[in-house]
Symmetry: D2
Subunit: 150 residues, 4 copies
């Protein structure tokens, strides 16, 4: 989906709307994650290590990784919406690949199949340790596209 073409003025509207929705999410602020890249069909978020994001062995908590997957996949799908539409996450599955050590998590979501009613999104989470990325989790999500009441 990389390289989708979109009219720049239209994209500015979409970007503004998406970031505005994200800014209203209490849990996003509570976790302290940020959107660091947004493009048609793509979203990258990241979060810095803080004690309150960890589990008992000092790794990032799986639930923190799941939050990033939940959010980034929905945001990636929402960049392809038309006016009057919204996204609703139907489901996702995530596999943990390596313990999430390090200073930061980076989460990259990408729409693999946009749809009128369902979009399928893949997502990979990496932990960054001494500047090196390590694959922490991979996920596959189904996002419903719903039409808002006028």
């Amino acid at each position: 989906m990389t390289g989708r073409k979109v009219d720049p003025a239209h994209w500015a509207v979409i970007e503004h709307r998406v970031l505005n929705v994200v800014a209203q999410q209490g849990f996003m602020k509570h976790v302290g994650a940020q959107v660091v890249h947004l493009a048609p069909g793509e979203c990258t978020t990241q979060v810095e290590r803080r004690p309150e994001l960890l589990q008992n062995m000092g790794f990032f908590h799986g639930g923190c990784i799941a939050f990033l997957v939940d959010n980034a996949t929905a945001i990636a799908a929402s960049t392809l919406l038309r006016a009057g539409q919204a996204v609703l996450t139907a489901e996702y599955k995530l596999n943990f690949l390596n313990p999430a050590r390090g200073d930061r998590l980076v989460c990259r979501a990408r729409v693999v199949k946009p749809g009128r009613t369902l979009s399928v999104v893949t997502c990979d989470v990496y932990s960054v340790e001494d500047g090196t990325e390590r694959h922490a989790a991979t996920a596959l999500a189904t996002i419903a596209v719903v039409t808002l009441p006028p």
Copy 2:
């Protein structure tokens, strides 16, 4: 798995160890969730509504629900460990069924197939509104049982 029999003294040791691990999880405290029921192969957790757990429409954030699933499924599997073993979540999948309105989330995990190396756990999350439970999400998890180095 309900009604597994276990020696009460042995269970007290397990319960103490499990709750001790949970108490060391920064993210559990940050979300503010609590273990409210623990039995062999079972774990129930809950969390009260707070603005920092919500998404932009005022429902509990999907990432908060995913955290509960992540944690409760691993805890349920960990109640069946033997000495020198630990759990490591391999993967899970969750389906969102209804918007999670209300005052509280209740998350119930139950081992459906305990294994020497893999346990399969189901999990259901309910939102509680005016005392009534509504099915918010259902999940299926695979938890690896690993032997710790001595």
Copy 3:
């Protein structure tokens, strides 16, 4: 979902339509599976052991189990359709619990959340050995409800 009430005449129409669709599936015949129970939101299928359904160790092949899950979940969801609607499987996940030995597989699917555009269906597959059922697999499926062009 057990015990949904439905007008008997209406149900006869649905049952006829569903079984008619199933009868047109070449792969269903090729595997040799049969619908043995159908009710609103429910479908049970089964298949007898034959050498061509097995894997190299003599158990039922995982792909045969996946076929049963694929079919029974879609059929269960299709019992709740209105006129002019059809089902389209969006995705499913299945966990294998025990080797599928024995003479027969029984697959039970049940809608846990019917929806206007998405239904969520759980499914369990049992192998029957000497008259005893053993849990072979458990699954969770998302079935899209689509409106057919007139």
Copy 4:
């Protein structure tokens, strides 16, 4: 995982063992699928269109696609085994992306994370119509690596 290096003589042994296991699968023959590419961590299979592999609308049956995913992911993981080990599929999830029209299905599985006890494998299924591939399904599998009794 593409491009893993392996001693050619050792690879010949692995290839022979893997193809030998596949040849003993009754369901593989019944579906009529074939392994068309095998490399360390990779497996591609394909199957030609036949009426007995279809569903009621004339597309390849979802259960046939699931069979390909089931088999190719396990085979891909099995190419990385050491002597005395075997694979056992723990679970997988698949998303259907487009109706599987056309003359042939091609299924490509690739290990994304090999492990001592669990390997994670991605898999994509394409339908080939007039020489053009169309993405039919994408999947994510967890394959257990078990040590056989001596």
